[in-house]
Amino acid sequence: MSSDHSHLPSETELRAKALESLLVEKGLVKPEALDAIIETYQDKVGPRNGAHLVALAWTDAEFRQRLLADASAAAAEMGYFGRQGEHLKAVENTPEIHNLVVCTLCSCYPWTVLGLPPVWYKSAPYRSRAVSEPRSVLAEFGAELPEEVRIRVWDSTSEMRYLVVPMRPAGTEDWSVEQLQRLVTRNAMIGVEQALAPERLAP
């Protein structure tokens, strides 16, 4: 799929507008519902939710156990539940295993904890290559893994949704959950990067 979003044909814009006014005129959608849907994913649900869960798992061994055993239930404890998060599974990176998530068939993604997927996640290059050459895909994101680390790619073909729990960076032993959350990028929870090292945090 085209990844160039700067010169979209205005025909698409017109088509979208025409469809919206037709559906509103026919009474098939309510404008206030459209606004509520947009607001939910623009302002409320996003990767901050997932970063919160990861930081909790790093600091609370019991929560980590619950997250790895049943991530939907653990996320619901924190109020993160809904569409595209009904069957959540957390997969943990270790010094031996690195997890990477893709949906080769469409764009399945854990909305409740990460929000809507980025363009690259939905693009043909990522969807085709994540399952056939993950190491070179990771390299394009700047993530170089040691040779001995085994990559485990999760292709989200069902309604199961995957959240990567990255490794906790060194030098953060006395950090609070709030501080740690800032190290957990969205990309780290998809598995294309590691969590940020403390020195990479913007002051």
Binding site: L22, A33, G46, W120, R152, W154, E159
Partner: protein, 224 residues
């Protein structure tokens, strides 16, 4: 179906070229925002399910699917479903003017109902009577199938041998759900070494794919 959407292992698409995470907006254009909301809102009318919605995007010429941007494919799928279910007509879509009544009694969600649908979700897991036929550790083969129907068995895994790692319980089976029959089958996480999928020259790694029981055959022959 092996449409333009079935992308695992396809070649020639070039580098990923991700936008930096800190700079990427959630929507890149106002029309994307509108298409997203329209697709979600019309989905809430209960006239089609998630697999029918996926299939509507897949049932395009592969060149169109690959050339269009993501939300352009959403728009194409939503238009198709609205016409096929009779909520709008082709003529109305072309002219943009409402000329026909849709003739269905529908509950149209307001803002509060829409929020509630989004936050309550719709689980795909179901209780079924028959026990799972496979268990963790079983070796299975993904059946080869050439079908125009919707399926979630990706082409690149068909014919390949993997190891059942986990049983997820029974989930709604997409192939039947797409025909409006929400039957459930046992769902498994199956692990495939890269050399099984791509041959001996592949970099070493594993791929885990969620596959339903009807997609799989037990290697020792007892499964089928």
């Amino acid at each position: 179906m092996r449409g333009g959407h079935d992308l695992g292992g396809r070649q020639g698409f070039g580098p990923v070229n991700p936008e930096p995470e800190s700079e990427e907006p959630i929507f890149h254009d106002e029309w994307e925002r509108r298409v997203f909301a329209l697709t979600m809102a019309t989905g809430m009318l209960g006239q089609w399910n998630i697999d029918q919605s996926r299939h509507a995007r897949e049932r395009q010429h592969p060149v169109a699917y690959l050339e269009q941007s993501y939300y352009e494919n959403w728009l194409a799928g939503t238009e198709k479903l609205l016409i096929e279910t009779g909520l709008i007509s082709e003529g109305e879509l072309r002219s943009g003017a409402a000329t026909e009544k849709c003739g269905k009694e529908l509950r149209i969600p307001d803002a509060e109902a829409a929020r509630k649908i989004l936050t309550s979700g719709g689980p795909a897991a179901r209780e079924i009577e028959n026990p799972p036929r496979f268990a963790a550790g079983n070796e299975v083969i993904v059946k080869r199938r050439h079908t125009l129907r919707h399926t979630r068995a990706p082409d690149y895994a068909q014919g390949c041998r993997g190891l059942v790692r986990e049983h997820h319980g029974a989930h709604i089976f997409p192939d039947a759900n797409c025909d409006g029959e929400p039957v459930a089958h046992h769902l498994y996480s199956v692990e495939f070494p890269s050399r099984e999928l791509w041959g001996g020259g592949a970099e070493p790694f594993d791929v885990l794919i969620d596959l339903w029981e009807p997609y799989l055959t037990l290697v020792d022959g007892n499964g089928e």
